[in-house]
Amino acid sequence: MQHSSNTDIGTTAPTRPPRASYRRVFLTFARNSLIRDMTFRTNFVIECISALSWMFMNLGLYLIIFGYTDSIGAGTGWGKYQFFVFLSTTLFINSLIETFFMPNTEEFSEQVRTGGLDFALLKPIDTQFLVSFGKMDWSSLANFLFAIVLLSYSLSRLEYQPGWIEFVLYPLYVLCGVAILYSLMIALAALSVWLGRNQNLYDFWFYITSFSRYPMEIYNGPLGTPLQKVFTFIIPVLIVVNVPARILAQPMTQPKWQLAVFALGATVACLGASRWLFLKSLDSYRSASS
């Protein structure tokens, strides 16, 4: 879809340019980013190591915690290896977000402030696509690779073995999780159009998503239950990791399947809502500078 109001500047509508091949553009972006990363190879390696170090530190914390307890929360079923399945799922989702979307949305708010967004608006391709996929940070995939190792190891240590349906659903729900987080991110980025500058955007995103990084069962009690409801049904960050992780780590129950169905709907709703917000924000965009 194109923003004709922004792109068609001429008085007479010119012949429509051929529809952009999104797949080819995407592959070109990926290739260019890889070339850029490979130009500074040592830097690339250092970035991979730094991403892995943060992850190992996090893993270290949980190893220490599991030195003192058998599970996160009594009776929740999140024992050591179940939780490591959960952690690998978090890693999959976060590394995908960091690879594809983080470098771009980060730049988007800066483009709004400097007026560089004009450049993106003039291109004969969907602006949201261009803004979301322009750059890729390949080094963040280091954690993705590690997550495969961690997931395989943890699954091999579990008594419960998921069936083939679960294995098929897992990647689907990981992608749903990525889509939900992406929607949240692009919605926050869109806000920067109205706010002019949104420096706390990333902090905010980080803090909101920090709720997603633990099993949802830990949020209970007079404060926890409402929190759980809000972050499941209003800002659905809790289902991002919980649904896929649960599918692999523990036997699914009736309410969990219901939640999984809800997650599909939530993904579609989030993508739709953020898309709407993004287009709305472009309408209010008034080029800065010049």
Partner: protein
């Protein structure tokens, strides 16, 4: 000054000096106050993760009961590394206060950058001492930070007052405050020393990254250091990771003040801890002086 004709110029020299430092401090404060709204909001948001932390640790403690390794304290509450659940949450809140004193965002990196791009020249050509100037600018930063952040801090501590059993005694308060100030000094001199390694190696960012990682993990910001006691350095050794971490200076950046406040360090241990911390501060103070002097001699003024 009234006493112009006095042969000794020391008093007026001193007052001129004090005035210089006062002006520097004032400029830095004004500079920091430019974005105060953003600042207060950012501070309040920084407490959001404590919410997830409360739930996480509550969940951990709820399942500790079934675990055999940990013992209940006399009152019958479950403990992990000597902390009850309420204590550990109070501890995490307090480490945030401690980190607010000891963390020096961008200090080491800034020094290293000014060495690399040559802007450190301004300290050489002007009669201003770099370590003193930067120290004042950090003090200004912290002063402003605390003025603006008091409200969010007070709000969060008020909401979390249930986790604090009783207020500590006057001595503990004194020790706590002393450890906070020393934590500030330690953080400052440690980071500036790291930055000045840039005199010898122009690129220190990977070194800084390693430091950041260590200080984050070993300062007690993520868990009380006592939790490391159960883990031997290598299988069969009588030394645990906890023993190793207690030798390092990182614990004074977060763990030590917080543990004092919740009463985990008392008596002789407390006095010894404070003395050792003071030694660390003096050592890094001296080392950074030496590094600055030696470094300037090596310095060859790159850049424009």
């Amino acid at each position: 000054m009234a006493t112009v004709s006095t042969p000794s110029t020391t008093p007026s020299e001193l007052s001129a000096r004090l005035r210089t430092w006062w002006i520097i401090l004032r400029i830095c404060i004004e500079e920091r106050l430019v974005y105060r709204g953003d600042f207060a909001l950012g501070t309040l948001m920084r407490f959001l993760p404590i919410v997830t932390q409360i739930f996480l640790w509550t969940a951990v403690y709820s399942s500790v009961q079934t675990s055999t390794e940990t013992a209940a304290d006399p009152a019958g509450q479950q403990t992990v590394a000597g902390f009850t659940r309420d204590e550990i949450i109070a501890y995490f809140l307090l480490t945030m206060v401690a980190r607010a004193f000891s963390s020096m965002p961008g200090l080491a990196g800034g020094i290293a950058r000014s060495i690399r791009d040559g802007s450190i020249k301004k300290y050489i050509t002007q009669p201003v001492d770099m370590l003193g100037f930067l120290l004042l600018s950090r003090i200004a930063h912290k002063l402003v930070y605390y003025t603006v952040a008091t409200l969010p801090f007070a709000l969060v501590f008020y909401l979390c007052r249930g986790y604090f059993q009783e207020l500590p005694s006057a001595e503990i308060w004194v020790a706590f405050i002393a450890s906070l100030f020393m934590g500030f000094a330690l953080g400052y001199y440690l980071e500036s020393l790291l930055g000045m390694i840039g005199f010898w190696f122009l690129e220190v960012s990977s070194l800084l990254f390693v430091y950041m990682l260590f200080s984050f993990f070993l300062s007690g910001h993520m868990f009380p250091i006592g939790m490391l006691d159960g883990f031997a350095i290598f299988p069969g050794s009588s030394w645990s990771w906890g023993d190793l971490v207690r030798i390092l200076p990182f614990q004074y950046l977060a763990y030590f003040p917080a543990a004092i406040f919740v009463g985990k360090i008392q008596g002789d241990e407390l006095v010894r801890g404070l003395a050792i911390e003071l030694c660390w501060v003096l050592m890094f103070m001296a080392l950074s002086r030496i590094a600055y002097h030696r470094g300037l001699r090596r310095y060859s003024a790159f850049g424009g």
